[in-house]
Symmetry: C2
Subunit: 445 residues, 2 copies
């Protein structure tokens, strides 16, 4: 790790409380932001820092995607144009059941490479039921900040090859939490990840709530993605899904609920009141035909909202820029062209994501004392001119993942001049393709 690092001369979109945009340097020491603004580059009692020239570049807090399934990256393009229920039962579940340690490892490496190269520095990730430790090993080496959970599926209705007993699911989760929560100097964290209410028994969900509370870990699940899911939960529990999750303790700032497309006014008020995190997945919700989540209404009600690409087979990118832009666009036919303006979209992918990961004190903005998760964009391409238009508009509506030049996570340079420094992209491509073919053969696709 670079002990001391100076990003010199960029335009800094700080996302601090007053949303300052300033020209200046960011000085990093021991993985933390030491100074923001003009700097003489000196760090007390130490040698000159490694310097990255950011003149002409836009420096942002690293983007956060609060709902990702890295274990599905190898399934990209294998499950297009199916409704959620068929998408799960015909493709995703059989493919997840066929995963080995090796396929999980390279699926995580492929996804993390795409994420880092596109400016995403932190994720909330749901793996499959097996081999979650292997995913952690991949992420430890490639250098992304990640909160990762083993997927929990203990209900009798689950496909037999993925179903586990409640005890086994919880024991393995606790073991993974003990091993990985806080690993890599705090960069890796554990989350308890019940797949979604219909996949889990009430006792499991209640135990997850207790375990998460006890260990200070996040709870990561899906909620209210489709009307069919809502009906299933209502028939099974007599409750609206958001209310049901609340009764079993899956709510509050510790919980992140992906999707929340089908939430009514009462549900929104409940989410806001409890401080539960909603994770908006606009591409995934369109591609699976799920709908458009009422995000402006949630923000107006005071909900905490992050954003995420979901898994590669329902997107098919893991691109924070694509998600920010789409989040801003899709609300406008329904609510008018000033709905979810660019500034709000950028908040979802920075501060909102930080909150969903329970890391609002650590990441999501460029402020002294926070972790040095930083990205530098080159917006000199024709697609982002004129250069004196509103900068936040340029970032949200015009910028592309390919504009990312440098990426720093925890003070370590992981992408420099558009190249991944922590792993060999060619090797990842070859290994990922080999493993993807193995998986396809295993399920007869």
């Amino acid at each position: 790790m670079t002990k001391s690092l100076l990003l010199r001369g960029g335009r800094l979109v700080t996302m601090d409380n007053s949303r300052r945009i300033v020209d200046g340097d960011v000085l990093v020491q021991d993985g933390r932001i030491k100074n923001v603004g003009r700097s003489d580059g000196r760090t007390a009692g130490r040698s000159k820092p490694t310097t990255i020239d950011c003149s002409g570049l836009i420096v942002l807090p690293g983007l956060v995607q609060a709902h990702i399934h890295l274990c599905q990256t190898l399934f990209r393009g294998l499950a297009d144009e199916l409704r959620l229920e068929q998408w799960l039962s015909r493709r995703i579940w059989p493919l997840e059941a066929a995963h080995t340690e090796e396929t999980v490892f390279w699926s995580a490496m492929l996804g993390a490479a795409e994420l880092l190269l596109g400016g995403t520095t932190a994720i909330l990730d749901m793996e499959t039921v097996r081999h979650t430790g292997t995913a952690f090993e991949a992420l430890e080496s490639i250098g992304i900040r990640a909160t990762v959970g083993k997927c929990l599926m203990d209900a009798p209705t689950n496909p037999p090859r993925l179903r586990e007993t409640t005890d086994k699911a919880l024991t393995e989760s606790s073991d993974l939490c003990a091993r990985w929560h806080g690993a890599a100097g705090g960069r890796l964290r554990y989350c308890f990840a019940p797949r979604f209410a219909p996949s889990c028994t009430g006792p499991l969900l209640r135990a997850v709530s207790d375990l998460a509370e006890h260990s200070g870990a996040t709870i990561h699940t899906h909620a209210a993605e489709t009307p069919l899911e809502l009906d299933t939960v209502r028939r099974g529990t007599g409750h609206d899904e958001i209310a049901y999750l609340d009764t079993v303790g899956i709510s509050g700032p510790r919980a992140a609920l992906a999707h929340c497309v089908w939430v009514d006014k009462d549900g929104i008020e409940r989410l806001a009141r409890q401080g539960t995190n909603v994770v908006h997945c606009p591409s995934s919700n369109l591609k699976l035909g799920s709908g458009i989540a009422p995000i402006p209404e949630m923000l107006a009600a005071g909900c905490r909202v992050g954003i995420g690409a979901d898994g590669a087979p329902c997107n098919n990118r893991l691109d924070a820029f694509a998600e920010m832009r789409l989040a801003a666009l899709i609300q406008k036919p329904r609510l008018g062209p000033d709905a979810l303006p660019a500034g709000q979209a950028l908040e979802l992918a920075t501060l909102g994501g930080a909150r969903a990961l329970g890391l609002e004190a650590e990441i999501g903005s460029i402020e002294v004392g926070k972790c040095a998760d930083l990205i530098a964009l080159d917006l000199s391409g024709p697609h982002a001119q004129p250069d004196d238009a509103d900068l936040i508009s340029r970032i949200v509506y015009s910028a592309r993942a390919g504009d990312v030049r440098h990426v720093i996570v925890d003070g370590r340079i992981v992408v420099q001049d558009g190249e991944l420094k922590t792993a060999d992209v060619g090797e990842i491509r070859r290994a990922a393709n080999t493993q993807a073919r193995r998986l396809r053969r295993a399920v007869g696709l």
Copy 2:
């Protein structure tokens, strides 16, 4: 111009009648495709062709965007989050009125650079009321295929600084048509471009229909973008807008109507019956809050449909990949996840666009005898793996404008290894920014 060119060893997505995807070469001679498939690289009686190594690349027909306003490229980011009517009256019309020859020239250069670098080889373009000849000069030099029209606005309700008399509008159009229709060896063509029905008198629209018929030119206008526009036309003419345009001769294969968001079943049947081209602009329709056009219903009815980014200030990209992906995604919540599948999205941006430009015999597919408008994509990035997933899915859902490696228009290499060969991007950026600042000052923005 390169007289003879060999694209060697790519995977060719031909978009021919049987939608063949084959591994092979494309041989180009005098701007036309001479051979598709295995080739010994020899061209009768000529020297060895210039060879572009396309091994590992995907070769596609150049993408076509059938609704673009190059004169608005300098307005990018200056008109966000406004409804169409305010967007026009507060920003676009004052900015267009302030245009000079120089601002129109650099606006076209900036837009065309972005388009070519992103794999768009042909456009249907609507300029502003003045300086259209200057836009043609820019496009002649930069090498894109373009059908361009002076914007026609003769109704008394138009802003005075843009309104022209019917005679002046028509005379200048005819002069431009005489000068530019078929110029640059046929690469440049003229279109008659009444802004939209509320901006134009009936006599102008009828005259446009006659002039276009007489000169073999396309008619390029907007239609049915918002309910307010529909009401205005209905109050003024007693007709539904699509029917009204039909009564004045703005219909049939010669006409391209951008947007068509608010078209009912009768309107769709009329569009299909007449063979009128619809140009879908999904990003623009979302960003301005206009709505979601019923494209699957139109395709089912047999309508001819192309796609386009519209102008930079209502998008804010000119990116055919962004439009294809969004076109495929936005229909799915309404009609199910199999609505507008990837293959149809790619057709909109190739064959559909070719038809909208009246060039279906010349462009839109890789077939012997057609113009050599070709692009080569590098899909080796992590975001497009695994590499044996469905190729059309990879192109539509995963690929990005930045994946474009080579672009050939009319047999000329305009982009090679991701670099524009026909103009200096640095010079375009500097000049475009200077001119954009001038325009902003002129209108007090």
